[in-house]
Amino acid sequence: MLALARTVVHRDLLLALRRRSDVGTALLFFVIVASLFPLGVGAEPNLLRAIAPGVIWVAALLSSMLSLGRLFAADYADGTLEQMLLAAAPLGVVVAAKTFAHWLVSGLPLVAIAPLIALQYDLAPGLYGVLALSLLLGTPVLSLIGAIGAALTLGLRGGGVLLALLVLPLYVPVLIFGAGAVEAVRDGLGAAPHLALLAACLLIAAVGTPFATAAAVRIALD
């Protein structure tokens, strides 16, 4: 079962490697959105410091949503998703592996690049690490929750907009705890409670969402 999950992750990473531009687009989107705010609201350092955690987290949210469409749609169109239903392991395992691979190419780069983007907001030195840590815990949740939406909107016309409407409200807790962690440290409080709540979200999502996603994929292919 683990070997099969590894195969799926390896396959999706290989496909992402062959289609590097898709991965680059979402990352570039994040960079651009997060850079627009300093240009738009002006170079007032205190204001920038105040909005930084929220803006960077919202940009990460949107960028992660942008890449969700790719999670199942291409496999659905060429019939490989069908074959995954007939794989030798439960569909939940396949779906979890695909979601993990999706996070590796869409979430992990955000974690790496966010501190760099945050330089534009002149954050206090101690905050960069917290920002990266909150994204490290939060972006997998975005992929896991988003996978349910991606599976539910499979094969629908105009699925992209519907996907956003379905998924964005569910992202709210992650946004609050994620941005909250950075704000708490900035305001002299510890980030531990927020990060603990994010980790709890991650655990719940990791255990619960693959089943829901698998069920949605089954419905889409029926």
Binding site: A77, G79, Q83, A88, L221, D222
Partner: protein, 202 residues
Amino acid sequence: MLEAAELECERGARTLFRGVSFVLRPGELLRVAGANGSGKTSLLRILCGLSRPSAGEVRWNGQPIAGIKEDYARELVYIGHAPAVKDDLTPRENLEISCRLAGRAASALALAAALERLRVPELPVRKLSQGQRRRAALARLLVSETPLWLLDEPFATLDAEGISLVDGLMGKQVDGGGAVVYTTHQEAGSRSTRVVDLGAGA
């Protein structure tokens, strides 16, 4: 080994077929016939467990397939309408991945031999013709050792040589004690075949 009991399929408000029953024994070749829209593909998808019938059930060695999902999936190869090969991968990579997904590890030699036998060039699938894609998908038959094959239009887009090759593979499968269910419009196939006729369609 495979048993269909009173299968019924509804699509939207209309009933495609009802009361489809048959028993497939080792060494048998079953052709699903019927007009366009009569539900041949739907029947095949029900047989492999992708769709649920609105009534009736499919049993594998006496057990309903709904209860033995992955164990049943390990026993079959399903080749559907879509070739299920990724455009960005080579036929070899596609074949290797689908082998692993099916829970088998085929040797590099076996993979290469299968693709060579079907004359699939080792280019990204994006650059292949429809017929070559089909061949890349059908290569799975050569590396599978499963007792049941479910083939949806295996001859579509193939040339005469390809058709006889696939026909030969199906013959070898049933001679070896396997079973094949397939749909086709052509009267292809030299051997005696049982037929399930779904009629003229709704």
